[in-house]
Symmetry: C2
């Protein structure tokens, strides 16, 4: 990546700080999409952003804070994609809702990858303030989606819709990891017929579970 | 832990090797129950088993293989606890099934903790042979549970029962991590009323989702 001009590198003005932070987040996003969240270090991110590691730490607390910020962004984008997919309709079906909810999260591979890392890693290596900022953004997106789902499918009330979205987010995270195995495991899946049942096709599997949950929660 | 007698320490005979492996697994189990899977190193396990790290590596490939073996054991125990809970009945209800399925996994905190680590960590640091052994044990337990569920609740066919058990296992893993936050996050939950919705009570939450899934899958 080309280095920024030196007046930006110093980043003394607020708008330059914003620019610097954005370039750090962008580097972290590209690297995670390329090789998976697990494999990206703070040093990788600093290099890709054209900065020293110590400079990166002037803008963020830890590697985990960077990915927690990207998870919050992912939730917000998921909510807005879902709103766009459901539109203004109030006569939706369970099948349509399950399909829209699953597709809009699967469309965001970085969010899917990040969802499993949040409780296991990301929330454990940041300040209380950073966790709070993340949680409030995720909860706002969850509320927003629950409202949109309940409006689209009036048989689903808002608390039930919140349960639905929350369960779909957890399943999306877990299923994403299973459906993106490391190379050695992918080879094993391909070669070993006894593992046929262990292979997961993310979107249909998630949509099936989302549909069952939505049926159960409206019953 | 007291050291084993020296003739066992050398573990030249097959029965001594079994004993040694069992003591390594037992040490790993106790440590994980005490401080969580994430926090246990191979050095911790070796110390607790009264062995040198190099000696441990004569019995297992890696720290991750130890925990993958314990996850396989956990699946088998879950299946047998579920069979015991469902008995010979063929007139079960969705509520009873959801309760039994959720309770029998929540009763195994080590399995719940391990479930999130499998795809994210454990399967990535062992040989193909170790993954295959694990997968076959987990799939056998899943089949066993699917049969038991379909027998208990005949409206649920076996493929649907397999989907139910699989989704409940993924949710149990994800919800366990969220409901066992680190100390700093637990404090934040207690102090911050805006996070009320983020607090998860594991058994009722899992039972609710299991019930919705079971209703949807029998509909």
């Amino acid at each position: 990546m080309t280095k920024l001009p030196s007046h930006v590198q110093r980043a003394r003005r607020p708008e330059h700080k914003e620019l610097r932070l954005a370039s750090i987040l962008e580097a972290a996003r590209s690297l995670a999409l390329e090789k998976g969240v697990r494999g990206v270090t703070l040093t990788d991110i600093a290099q890709a952003a054209g900065l020293h590691k110590s400079a990166v730490l002037r803008y963020v607390e830890t590697r985990e804070e960077i990915y927690l910020r990207l998870t919050a962004e992912g939730w917000t984008e998921w909510a807005s994609a879902l709103r766009a997919a459901l539109g203004e309709r109030t006569d939706g079906t369970v099948d349509e809702l399950a399909e829209a909810l699953s597709r809009t999260v699967v469309d965001q591979p970085l969010l899917c990858d990040l969802l499993s890392h949040v409780a296991l890693h990301l929330e454990r290596h940041v300040s209380a303030e950073a966790v709070l900022t993340y949680k409030l953004a995720a909860l706002a997106a969850l509320d927003d989606m629950a409202q949109a789902c309940a409006r689209f499918l009036p048989a689903l009330d808002e608390p039930a819709a919140r349960e639905l979205v929350s369960a779909v987010s957890l399943l999306a995270g877990a299923l994403w990891q299973i459906s993106h195995p490391p190379e050695a495991l992918a080879r094993l899946y391909a070669e070993e017929p006894r593992l046929a049942h262990a292979v997961v096709d993310l979107l249909p599997r998630l949509t099936g579970s989302a549909r069952a949950l939505a049926v159960g929660l409206t019953a």
